[in-house]
Amino acid sequence: MTDQATSRNFAGFEQPLTTPSNGHRVNFRFIDWIWNVRGSVPLEPLQSSDEAFNRLDPLFREYGTSHERTGDTLTFSKKDQPAQDKMSVFDAGVLKIEQGVAGAALHYRLSSRALLFCFCLPLLFLFFAQATIAIGEYRKPAMEAAEKAKAAKKKEPVVRELHPLDTFLGAPAPEAPKKDGAAKREDKQHSPKSAYVFAAMFAALYVIGRILEQWLVQRLFRKALQGG
């Protein structure tokens, strides 16, 4: 099977994926909403498939995009698409024009590695958080010993003074260093806080992206089909 055919299958409408090892069909339908966007846009009355695909054509003439049309179906794939491509978030997809009760409509299924990547990022950052805690635990005895040695060697803390110019201009004087500050200092080097914050941010960003990109691509197709 060629690469192109594989990517077409991947983005195929209702086709389940085929595992190459044993040929068993695995249905990803229940989870593939994570990286797939599906939707439909009604065609203008009396608009033919040819006319509709001609209007959509400029969208598939971007850098790194290859596409193929067979009858009422258009398949595309993208590689290294620049940020300026209006469909840059998607890497492959199938667009199909089907006749329904209310008239013809463009149905599409678009797959996005970026959405999948963002979906996985909270897990990656939770892993970073756990790794940071583990490193902190591993280094704790060595760091405590180093702190003790440092404290033993430490001279009386020097009270720094401001330059007379700064005193004249009214800058607050530096505080005298606390004597037991070092011993009681929190281990900020191995805090998992930032990893947790980023995990939460990517979870929120995924939800935003999943909703926003679905809405944006529908608007893009609708405008293109209307010739706007």
Binding site: Y63, G64, D80, Q81, P82, A83, Q84, S88, V89, R113, A114, F117, C118, L121, F125, F128, A129, A131, T132, I135, V158, R160, E161, L162, H163, L165, D166, L169, G170, A171, P172, P174, E175, Q189, H190, S194, A195, F198, M201, F202, L205, I208, G209, L212, E213
Partner: protein, 336 residues
């Protein structure tokens, strides 16, 4: 393309660039918009310096600096929305997510690596092996002098590291990844191969003993000057500012698809360092990137220095060596 002669060099023979301040578009809109986008940068700088100079000790802490940094970036993102420099650089969800991924790596993975082998570890080792009290005179200097000294030491180191990256192939490999971005937005400075992000973060300012307030002031200088390298906002930057400081205009030229243009404007904050060493070009570019604007996937951004390095080594030393100039076989065109 004919290009424009700047000194001995022809800039813009491969991709469109705008050279000279008089040719760069101005902010469009009413008097209030003109006023805001003319004085925003100096106002933010002076406001931040004044804040950190006078803030009580209970407020003048690193945690405050982090929150101000986040708030300032949010404000700049809003400015990108209101007054973009180029429509083609508009921040998309995918770009925002990818940029944030690299910012996240900086705060987590790279931060941990830095504790072991980066400047954090080196500074600790050097400080423990030498009586640095001999340099305690530094803390006796006026606060703003200390802050500027910390800031310029870091930027001077960064200038040469960055210039080295554009002139020596092994350093160019990790840095080249950053040059594949096709637009500038507020977090784009974080995008790049982690090896490069680690290298560019190395600084010697930390060797010196300085007052904590001076370090916070130095951070404020970096935040309110260097941050405009990667931003999609059209400013009417004052003449004195663009003479002293790096601007989006300078940095967009550095990211241009024109090879000669990329070999300019290396400093992070202080463009006068480039002026001193003859590498400054005043101008801007909209069309950015490498290989005609090919955008790398995150996977390729992570692996590119290794895969390209391997290809180059094989071309130079491998059995199927086709010519003497083995490095010429690589996809990543060395910057020298």
């Amino acid at each position: 393309m004919d290009g424009v002669r700047v000194g001995n060099r022809l800039i813009g023979t491969q991709a469109p660039v705008t050279i000279g301040w008089e040719n760069i578009p101005r902010v469009e809109g009413g008097p209030i918009k003109q006023f805001v986008f003319t004085y925003f940068q100096p106002f933010a700088l002076f406001a931040m310096v004044t804040f950190w100079y006078y803030a009580p000790n209970s407020i003048a802490k690193a945690s405050t600096a982090i929150w101000i940094g986040i708030g300032f970036k949010a404000l700049l993102l809003a400015l990108e929305w209101v007054n973009p420099r180029f429509e083609s650089w508009r921040l998309t969800w995918k770009e925002a997510m990818t940029d944030l991924f690299y910012v996240g790596l900086g705060y987590t993975l790279l931060d941990q690596v830095d504790n072991f082998i980066g400047s954090g570890a080196v500074i600790e080792a050097v400080r423990n092996s030498y009586d640095w009290d001999k340099l305690s005179w530094f803390t006796g200097l006026p606060l703003l002098v200390q802050a500027f000294a910390i800031s310029i030491m870091f930027d001077f180191g960064q200038y040469w590291m960055h210039r080295g990256m554009h002139n020596w192939y092994p350093l160019w490999l990790p840095h080249s990844v950053h040059h594949y971005i096709t637009q500038l937005n507020i977090n784009k400075g974080a995008v790049g191969n982690p090896i490069e992000l680690f290298l560019i973060g190395l600084g010697i300012g930390g060797f010196f003993d300085f007052l904590p307030r001076a370090a916070l002031l130095a951070g404020a200088l970096g935040m309110t000057i260097g941050i405009y390298q990667h931003i999609n906002v059209r400013f009417n930057t004052p003449r004195w500012w663009r003479f002293l400081f790096n601007t989006t205009e300078h940095h967009s030229l550095h990211h241009s698809q024109d090879f000669e243009a990329t070999r300019s404007n290396y400093a992070g904050s202080y463009i006068f360092i480039d002026r001193i060493f003859g590498t400054c070009i005043d101008g801007e570019a909209e069309l950015l990137g490498m290989e005609g604007g090919r955008r790398m996937t995150v996977r390729e951004q992570m692996l590119f220095p290794f895969t390209e390095g391997w290809k180059s080594l094989k071309a130079k030393y491998g059995k199927s060596r086709s010519g003497d100039d083995g490095f010429g076989q690589s996809d990543a065109v060395p910057a020298e």
